[in-house]
């Protein structure tokens, strides 16, 4: 058990950036999740903490002790490798007992070794595999052995590199639920690397989002979910991805998506007239307010609207953004359906809704999103990630974030 402080950690591989000035302060016993796409520097960060790679700059402090120049075997850190890294010539039992036999993780006699191995294999459901060699295991079993080799010993920090990625979906969610309950994990400072946002939200006391070797945002799961620092974080959380609609601020109103969006700038939102912005709508935040438009829809929407109840701005009730559009693709996901709604403009709005609420393809619909769930980002070129300004809830939203 120890705190883990990382300051200005940088590592380049030739001309490519591994990680760039990463700062993290992780509390004693905290379960910290690092989320990012492949190549973002997650594993590099873990290996730097473990001392397995020489960093170019920055420091790692574990339990108040500066680890610069300290060999990996003296750091009292345990790591589950994404590649498992099981000793192929050793049985599962010997693999699991390996950290207990080195003499650097504590003194364990044979009975104590056996007791610890049994406890861990019982938890992970691999008790029946003790005599097998790694080559005789499935990938899921190997991954659990790799996890077991970490949990079998006490350590100051547990480093877990995608430890659930190769389990099948069912086992994965079961293990996810169990992992945090494990005594060892709940008491030990842990850094958990994943590219799965659901794992990050479910497991993390806090979540750090990495992109191209830089930390983009650190916060509690609800913080990064409710107030993503920029479009990258917003896109990283949620499947399907958040929809980003181009809009422009003009004369105290925000117009966008060829007239589908037309709302007043809420008080407290720091935008200026003429500024271009992007509105972010999470597919699950968008509700289908009504299948089909009222007969007078065209009149309400204004002269620009398609007379056959096409795209246009709906009547926005207080506290929510309304849009009207026409259903494009409908994709069934089981109980839910993913609907792509053309509201005008080049980007369709993706909606995930219950199957009963979904309209058929080609039908007109009206959509509504609560104001605090309409994220406002700065505008940028396509592919460019831009910071978040706030939400349509305006000043109240800023209070939420504080």
């Amino acid at each position: 058990m120890a705190t883990l402080d990382i300051t200005g950690l940088s590592k380049r591989y030739g001309s490519t950036v591994g990680i760039d000035a990463v700062d993290l302060d992780i509390d004693d016993g905290e379960f910290f999740v690092l989320l990012g796409p492949s190549g973002a520097g997650k594993t590099t960060t873990l290996k730097s903490i473990a001392g397995l790679i020489e960093v170019d700059a920055g420091s790692v402090t574990i339990g108040g002790r500066d680890m610069s120049g300290v060999e990996p075997y003296e750091r009292n850190v345990a790591m589950a490798f994404e590649s498992y890294a099981l000793y192929p010539q050793k049985s599962v039992l010997d693999n699991l007992a390996s950290p207990l036999r080195s003499g650097r993780t504590g003194r364990y006699d044979d009975a104590e070794q056996r007791r610890r191995v049994d406890a861990v294999t019982g938890t992970l459901g691999i008790s029946h595999l003790l005599d097998r060699l790694p080559k005789e295991l499935s990938n899921g079993q190997r991954q659990r052995v790799a996890l077991g080799r970490v949990l079998v010993r006490p350590a100051d920090v547990y480093l877990l590199d995608e430890p659930l990625s190769h389990l099948d979906a069912k086992l994965r969610s079961a293990m996810r639920a169990e992992l945090k309950q494990l005594g060892a994990v709940s008491q030990t400072t842990s850094v958990y690397v994943t590219h799965d946002y659901q794992e990050a939200l479910a497991l993390g006391d806090r979540v750090g989002v990495l992109r191209d070797g830089r930390i983009v945002q650190v916060g509690a799961p609800e913080q990064v979910w409710n107030a993503p620092a920029d479009t990258f974080v917003a896109k990283a959380f949620g499947q399907p991805e958040i929809t980003l609609l181009d809009a422009v601020v003009d004369d105290g109103r925000i117009h966008g998506a060829d007239g589908a969006v037309d709302v007043a700038v809420p008080p407290g939102l720091a935008v200026t007239s003429g500024q271009r912005v992007r509105l972010g709508l999470r597919p699950r935040d968008v509700a289908v307010a009504g299948a089909g438009a009222p007969p007078d829809a065209a009149a309400v929407a204004g002269p620009d609207a398609d007379p056959v109840a096409g795209p246009g701005a709906g009547r926005s009730a207080p506290g929510e953004l309304r849009m009207r559009g026409r259903v494009g693709l409908v994709e069934r996901l089981g109980r839910l359906v993913e609907v792509s709604v053309d509201v005008g403009g080049s980007t369709p709005v993706i909606v995930v809704t219950s199957a009963e609420r979904a309209a058929g393809e080609g039908e007109p619909v009206e959509l509504s999103v609560p104001n605090h769930q309409v994220h406002v980002f700065q505008a940028g070129a396509s592919g460019e990630e831009t910071p978040r300004i706030g939400s349509l809830a305006g000043a109240t939203d800023e209070e939420d974030r504080a």
Binding site: K47, A50, L52, E71, P72, Y73, R75, V77, A78, M79, F81, S83, Y84, A85, L86, Y87, P88, Q89, S98, P99, S102, G103, R104, T105, L133, P134, K135, E136, L137, N139, R142, R149, H166
Partner: protein, 288 residues
């Protein structure tokens, strides 16, 4: 068996028969020198220059080569030369392994300043013709007293074997996932213990292959012992040629018998360590 049969495949198709015949022809062609050597070793002095396949075979030649009678004919003690060869080659291979394994590990694991140049230099020992360096070596060996000594022979033969060991094992170490040693480090083992516990057992097939190849190369070396030794450290490759006679009668049958005997130690070594020559020992270590 020439080919592995798939279920339902017919054995005696014309193309299968043709393939087998071609292979058989190639087999006879490539094995013929060895067959001829063995036949020659079984012939008597009177028949040694005939090219008939029918003759009265005798094992006397082997006895002659290994006995005092051979020494009388050639002034070379063949059994001693055989032993000297074994000592020289084993010594050279041992030195190459002791020095070459850590060198190969370092070269395979880490890029350090000049690592490529160093590897190229080591390789260059292999493609520099031995005849190019033999004269200076002869002079040096005479001056520092290494001429015709076991130490001198081991030293010069490891020049042949070390590059083999380093280059073969380097690729084995490169193929070994670094995560395995990282895991050992985090388990609390020092770098040396991680190397001995994890890396070394997994390159055993490579060590076996390198040992065998290095031994064969050292064993077959002719120029170095010919020039750098006289009697004490002279090896079997030199001894064989003495049966061809220097001015007296040439004993082709005895030469062949000596060659057959000389081929046995590498053969025995190959049979002994072939069970280690299996690949895929690291299978299952990391996901591919």
């Amino acid at each position: 068996m020439a080919t592995t049969l798939m279920p339902g495949q017919k054995r005696f198709t014309p193309s299968a028969i043709l393939a087998d015949l071609t292979l058989l022809a190639w087999f006879v062609f490539s094995l013929f020198p060895i067959v001829w050597l063995v036949l020659l070793a079984l012939k008597t002095d009177a028949e040694q220059t005939t090219t008939y396949f029918s003759f009265s075979p005798t094992l006397d030649n082997f006895g002659t080569v290994l006995s005092d009678r051979g020494e009388e004919l050639t002034s070379v003690d063949f059994p001693t030369a055989l032993l000297t060869s074994v000592l020289n080659c084993a010594g050279a291979v041992l030195v190459s392994l002791v020095v070459g394994i850590p060198a190969a590990y370092a070269a395979g694991r880490w890029r350090f300043r000049g690592s490529n140049d160093l590897m190229f230099t080591i390789l260059s020992f292999r493609f520099a013709p031995e005849l190019m360096v033999i004269v200076p070596l002869f002079v040096i060996y005479n001056q520092i007293g290494l001429f015709d000594t076991t130490v001198g022979m081991i030293w010069v033969l490891q020049l042949v074997t070390m590059p083999l060991v380093v280059w073969i094992l380097r690729s084995y170490f490169q193929d070994l996932p670094e995560d395995l040693e990282h895991a050992a480090l985090l388990d609390g083992y020092t770098r040396r213990r991680a190397f001995v516990m994890v890396a070394l057992p997994l390159v055993r097939p490579g060590i076996a292959a390198a040992t065998l190849l290095a031994f064969i190369f050292a064993w077959n070396n002719y120029i170095f012992p010919l020039v750098l030794s006289e009697s004490e450290a002279s090896t079997v490759t030199v001894a064989i040629t003495k049966f061809l006679g220097g001015g007296g009668q040439a004993y082709y049958n005895l030469t062949a018998a000596a060659a057959v005997i000389a081929a046995l130690p590498p053969l025995v070594l190959a049979l002994t360590i072939q069970r280690y020559l299996v690949r895929g020992l690291s299978f299952g270590a990391v996901k591919s």
